[in-house]
Each structure stands twice: as C-alpha cells, then as structure tokens.
C-alpha cells in the first residue's frame, strides 16, 4: 500500500500544488476582507467564478477577431488576465459599495452583512448563468485551448520508486503567475503606503481614521485588490482545468476560506501557506483515500475531507496554524 502511495506521490504533489496555488490566491481575498471588516465575504468565491467567465468571454472574443492565431499565446494571456483583473476588481469595489457599506454605516449586526453577502453570491451565479446560457445555450463552458500541451517528466528513470509525472504546460503558467501575484501582494501590503494603511485599519479602524487615514478608501482598495486577484485566479483556473460553470465558486470558495482559516484569518502569508497545504492534502486524499480505506471511500469524499479539516481547525485551533489568539474584551 505504502509503495503505491509513494509511487504516485510526485504526481500528487504537482496536482496538489496547482490546486493549492489557486486556493492560496482566492484565500487571500477572504483573509484581507476579514482582516479589515471581520466579515466572511461569501460572494468572493463567486467573484472568482465570474473572473473565469469574463476571462473565457475575452478569450472567445479575441479568438473570433483572430488575435489568438496572430498573437503569441503569452501576450493573449496577459491581456486576458489584465482585463479580467480590472473588471473583477471594480466589481469587488461595487459590491462593497452597494452591499456592505450601507450596513457598516448604520452599524448593523454581523449576521445581516453575512446574509447580504450570500445574496450577492446568488445574484452573481445567476447573472453569469444567464449570460453564458444566452450566448452559448449552455451554462457549462469549455475554454478555448491555450497552453494545453501535455508534458511528461520522467523521474521514473532517475528514481525508480516514483512514477512518471504528466502535466499540462498551463501548470507552469499557474505556478509562475501565482507566485508573481503572491510576491507582488506581499510587497504591496508590507512596503507601500496603502498597504500600511490597510494594516492600520485592520488593527484598529477608529484609531486609523484619527490618524487621517481614509478608511472607506482603504476598504475599497482592499476589495479591489482581493477581487482582482480572485478574478485573475479564475482565469488561471479556466485555462488549467478547461471547463467552468457558474457554480464552481461555491465549493471552491468554501475551500479557499478553509485555507484562510488554516493560515490564521487576517494573516496574508498564512493564507498562502494554508492554500498550498489544503491543495496538497486534498489531492493526496483524492488519490489515496480509496487505497487507504480499501475501496470503502473514494475520491468523491475529497470535499468531505476538506470540510472536516475546516471544522476541526475552527473547533480546536480557530486562530489557525500561523495566527494569534484574540481575547474578547468584556
């Protein structure tokens, strides 16, 4: 059994990292908003989903005008990413304006804000479904081929305990792009004026506003950055996995939130690590559950596995693996 698990381990790691990077970037959106507003932004998973559809739409458009064949794929890819990020970023700002700011102004209970965010998530799902179905007749979309050359890394010949690894070329893209996004974000949060303001607001909104920080603008920027990253990751997801539907954001959103909690909510680097960890664990479970349980449970339980991690972490270590415990003030 162990031998079997080890054989496929390199493949599991590659697949797990791919998924993990997606989780990591989406998790950042949750963690940034929670850090500042203490709100679980349920709509974030659907911003990610919308991003993947916008990306697909732009890609289809470029294909129809012939750009896809005349321009190098990388340029096409960069254009798609940029447009998607800007659109979803602005969408995030809009969501905050319409749905959360009025509640914040009148100091409504948290429960109410949670409910609005669920509402937004439903609206996004259905609007996207509507457009997809209107344009293509089906809400499940298969993306145009981009970076889908199959590659094989023959580590079997070097280390015979392992099997060969196969992956798409898009994997390298996901890998590089997410790392660039993560590093850029880290620099933004830790080195720039706005990043500093963001951290100040997260620590103590009132004091920050007394220090002449425009809290509302900081919150808008947070939503822009988080949603832009989420949307861009949607594009990566579409290219990597090929098919998308309006409901991918729901489960992926919960898992990304799990990743954020795993890393300690509010902690950006924690969210990155949490995402990668969760991706690896999930892929490991998907590949090996059947082997370990002798066929009693298969890959269909991988979501259950992720939820159980979420529940266990929230119960026993709600501050996360890399966060700090907070004491409620009485």
């Amino acid at each position: 059994m162990l031998q079997q698990i080890i054989q496929i381990l390199p493949q599991v790691i590659i697949d797990g990292l791919t998924l993990g990077f997606v989780y990591a970037v989406v998790a950042i959106g949750y963690t940034m908003v929670y850090g500042i507003l203490e709100l679980i932004n349920f709509a974030h998973g659907d911003v990610f989903m919308t991003g993947s559809f916008i990306g697909a739409a732009v890609l289809f458009f470029m294909m129809s005008v012939g750009f896809l064949s005349s321009l190098p794929s990388l340029i096409v890819f960069i254009i798609v990413m940029a447009i998607t990020a800007i659109v979803t970023g602005l969408m995030g700002v809009g969501i905050e304006r319409v749905a959360y700011r009025p509640l914040r102004k009148r100091n409504a209970p948290k429960l109410i804000a949670l409910i609005t965010s669920i509402g937004i998530s439903f609206v996004l799902e259905d609007v996207v479904r509507f457009f997809a179905e209107l344009k293509t007749g089906n809400y499940i979309i298969t993306s145009p081929p981009l970076f889908n050359q199959k590659m094989t890394l023959d580590i079997h010949s070097v280390m015979p305990v392992f099997n060969k690894i196969t992956f798409q070329s898009s994997f390298i893209l996901v890998f590089i792009v997410t790392i660039i996004m993560l590093i850029a974000l880290d620099i933004f949060v830790n080195r720039t004026k706005w990043g500093m303001a963001m951290r100040a607001v997260a620590q103590d909104r009132e004091t920050a506003s007394l220090m002449s920080i425009n809290v509302n603008r900081v919150i808008s920027i947070t939503f822009f950055v988080g949603s832009a990253l989420g949307g861009a990751t949607g594009v990566l997801f579409m290219i990597q996995y090929g098919t998308i539907d309006p409901y991918i954001g729901f489960i992926l959103g919960i898992k990304a939130f799990t990743a954020a909690v795993l890393g300690g909510i509010g902690n950006i680097r924690g969210a990155m690590l949490g995402g990668i960890l969760l991706g690896l664990l999930e892929m490991f479970a998907a590949a090996n559950l059947s082997t370990i349980t002798h066929g009693a449970m298969g890959a269909e339980y991988k979501d259950v596995f992720a939820f159980i991690i979420l529940i266990l972490v929230l119960i026993f270590k709600p501050e996360g693996l890399f966060g700090k415990a907070v004491v409620e003030k009485v």
């Binding site: 679980i40 409910i115 509402g119 259905d126 929230l314």
Partner: protein
C-alpha cells in the same frame, strides 16, 4: 375623511368581523365557481394574513384560522380539476412553514446562522425512505422490509427524534465555534451530509447512493392508503399546528427568554446563569426536529428520495423565508414561507408558461435562459440583499409580547406585606424574611 373612516374601522371589532366574513365568503365562492383561478385560491389563503391583523382574541383567531385551512380551503377547491394541485401547494407551504419555524428558532431566537439546515430534513426523509422501502433489507440483518404504511405515524416521531439527535451531534462541535464561523461550519456540515448520503451505496449499501431510494410505501391510515396531496394536506396541517403550538409556547417561556438573551448578549446571558451550550443545543435540536418530521412526510409524499433535494440552495431558500418574513417573528416567518413557496411553485412557473406561450405564438421571443423558473437564485439573492439592506426586520417585524402592567401592579401590591400602597416592597420578591420598609424614595 377616508382616514377617519379607516381609523374607525381599525377600532371597531364588529365591522372588522363583517368585513372579514364577507372577504372569506367572496373568495371561497370565487374559488368554488372559477376553479382554475389561481388568484382566487391565493386570495383565500390571504385571508389568514388578514385574520392575523384583526382585533380579535388569540383564541378566536386560532379557531377561525383552523376552520378556514381545514374545511373552507379544501371544500371550495374540491370540485375542480385543479384540486390536487392546489392542495399540493398547501401541503408544500405547510412543510416549508414548519421548517422555517424550526430555522427561526435557531436564527431568529437564538441568533445562530445555520446554513445547512436542510440536512435535518434530509435525515427525516431518508429515515422513512430507507425503512419504508426495500432499501433496508440490503443492510439490515433482521426484519422484513419495506415496513407497512401504518408505521408512518411512528416515523413522524422517529424522524423528529433522529433529526434532533443529529442536531445535537452536529451542535456539540459546531457550537464551540464563535459567531460568524458558525455559518460556514454549518454549511460544511450540510454539504458533508449531502455528499455522504449521495455516496453511501458502498461499501455497505445504505442510501443507494446517487440512484436514490424509490417506491417508498405510502402512509396507511386505518386501511386507507394515503397518496393524494389532498390527504397529505391534512397530515401536514396537523403537524404544522403542533409546531405552531410548540413555538408560540416556547417563545414566552424560560427557554425562549434564554435563547433571546444568548442572541442579544452571550456574556451577560452567562452571567445570569444561562448555560450557553445547553441552551444553543436545545435550539438546534428543537429546530431540527421540525425539519425531521416534515422530511418524513416529504419522503412519503414523493415516494422517492435522493440527495439532490437537499442542497445548499434549499438551505438558503429556507433562510430566505425567515429573513423575508422577519427573523424572530412567528407570523412573519409563516408568511415568508408561504410567499416563497407560492412564488417558487406557482408564480414563476405560471409566468414561464405564459412566456413560453408568447414565444410559441411568435408574439415575442424570450430566450430560454431568461425563463423565470430558472431564476430562483437571482430572486432569492435579490430578496436577501434588499431585505437585509432596507428592511432587516422583514415583512412582519417581530414584536415582543407585552404584559398587562395594571394586572401585575395589582398582583404586586396584593402580595406585598407593606401597609402603604404603592410603596415599593421588594423584599417579598427577593428575600424570604421580611424586614421593615424604610421609606425609600427611588
């Protein structure tokens, strides 16, 4: 002048009764003579809402409400082709109203956002489904399955019990989680239950996996097999009445106050001696039991269960009913359940059909994607947003029950050992041995 007249109407009990009677008679006759008129049916149902606002004693309202629902509605709908479909709507409204009342205990009274509430409905449905079909014989070492239809009545209770046990089992870990994390954990649990039910066909076949369980035995009432919506309507009505009774009684009890205290301020509630976990568990268990009962009925009515009926969308739909009606407000939540159910089963499909007709006749071309029947999510989403933002207290806002202050004052002065009336004498309330009253001016 109109305003003055309205005012007079609001005060006069007699004119209200006359108006109400006229309304009920008219709508019943309307339904009786124009059988296919959904509008007449809805207007008759609407009379319950009018009844709620009348200036009558609670007992009178209960009796009249019961009479309308149990006799008048079925009777006036009974002699047309649409009879069963009307009763189907009534049955569904009852099922969802009972479930929303359950969720209302959790969300509205105790302030715990549960996003996986449909799981308890699933538990009730599968409990009956497994044992009232051949499914149980696939893994049970003893017994003869399917169980006969007269066990259904026991299964209503069993469904309630098993669902409340699930409520407690889920609650124990879940309630250790604070505030807003609770929402996501309950959501996770809801999904886990759905996925597990969907995959438990191996290694032991308990739920028949994604194939679902079919040919479930219909209930049996003294030899009469119950298969029509018009019959299920009465079962649902009876359970709904029981649920209503439980909810209204508990709301103004020690437990109900404890729930609301926990909702308003956990720390102060604990300081007043309220055990947090036990109080929250009670909310989970009681709320879940309503769902469990209705799950049993649902399985018997559909004669088929599978995991697709118990998704996150369904959980959210019940939440929409609660939010739309008004968190914590019993009449509100019932109204919310009725509105959403009717919207979902009647209005949206009617509009879709109508639009389809228009499209086929070529009057206008509505793309299939825009079909209102497909827009549940959009509508639920908009309802959630609009109500959370602009009317978070819902259609019928919750009102605290008022006590008769005069009566209390009288009782307080009677029980008092103090000679001078009106002077405060708290010692009888607070300590057993009485002391002399110092003339305190507070």
């Amino acid at each position: 002048m109109i305003f003055g007249w309205m005012n007079q109407f609001a005060q006069s009990k007699r004119s209200q009764i006359i108006f109400f009677a006229a309304y009920v008679v008219l709508t019943s006759l309307g339904l009786y003579f124009i059988q296919d008129s959904v509008i007449a049916f809805l207007l008759l149902l609407f009379s319950i809402l009018i009844l709620y606002y009348l200036k009558l004693s609670n007992k009178a309202k209960w009796i009249m409400g019961f009479l309308i629902l149990a006799i008048l509605v079925p009777l006036s709908a009974s002699h047309g082709s649409a009879y069963q479909s009307y009763m189907e709507v009534g049955t569904l409204v009852g099922i969802y109203a009972a479930m929303s009342l359950g969720l209302n205990i959790v969300v509205g009274f105790a302030g715990l956002l549960d996003l996986g509430f449909i799981a308890f409905f699933a538990v009730g449905a599968y409990t009956y489904g497994i044992f009232a079909s051949a499914q149980a014989s696939k893994f049970m070492p003893f017994g003869h399955y399917p169980l006969p239809g007269d066990t259904f009545w026991l299964f209503i209770i069993a469904g309630a019990l098993i669902a409340s046990i699930f409520g407690i089992l889920l609650g124990i870990p879940v309630l250790r989680v604070r505030g807003d994390y609770l929402a996501i954990v309950t959501l996770g649990f809801g999904e886990i239950i759905r996925i597990v039910l969907n995959n438990m066909d191996h290694p032991i076949n308990i739920t028949n996996g994604s194939m679902g369980i079919s040919s479930i035995t219909p209930p049996d009432f003294f030899g009469i097999s119950i298969g029509n919506s018009s019959q299920f309507y009465y079962i649902v009505l009876a359970i709904f009445m029981v649920v209503m009774y439980i909810v209204t009684k508990l709301e103004d009890s020690k437990l109900g106050r404890a729930w609301k205290a926990v909702r308003d301020n956990e720390i102060a509630a604990q300081a007043m001696g309220i055990p947090l976990v036990r109080t929250k568990l009670a909310a989970f268990a009681i709320g879940a039991s309503f769902s469990g009962m209705m799950g049993t009925v649902f399985a018997a009515k559909q004669m088929f269960v599978d995991a697709t009926s118990f998704t996150y969308l369904e959980s959210t739909m019940i939440l929409v009913m609660v939010i739309l009606g008004g968190m914590g407000s019993v009449p509100g939540v019932i109204l919310g359940a009725a509105v959403v159910t009717i919207l979902n089963t009647q209005v949206l499909t009617e509009i879709s059909n109508w639009l389809n007709q228009l499209s086929t006749t070529g009057a206008i071309a509505i793309p299939d994607a825009l079909s209102p029947a497909k827009m549940q999510r959009l509508i639920f989403g908009i309802l959630l947003i609009v109500f959370a933002l602009y009317r978070s207290q819902g259609l019928i806002p919750h009102k605290n029950k008022k006590v008769n202050a005069e009566e209390l004052k009288k009782a307080a002065s009677e029980g008092s050992s103090s000679p001078e009336a009106g002077s405060p004498s708290p010692e009888t309330a607070l300590v057993n041995e009485s002391r002399t009253t110092g003339g305190v001016d507070l």
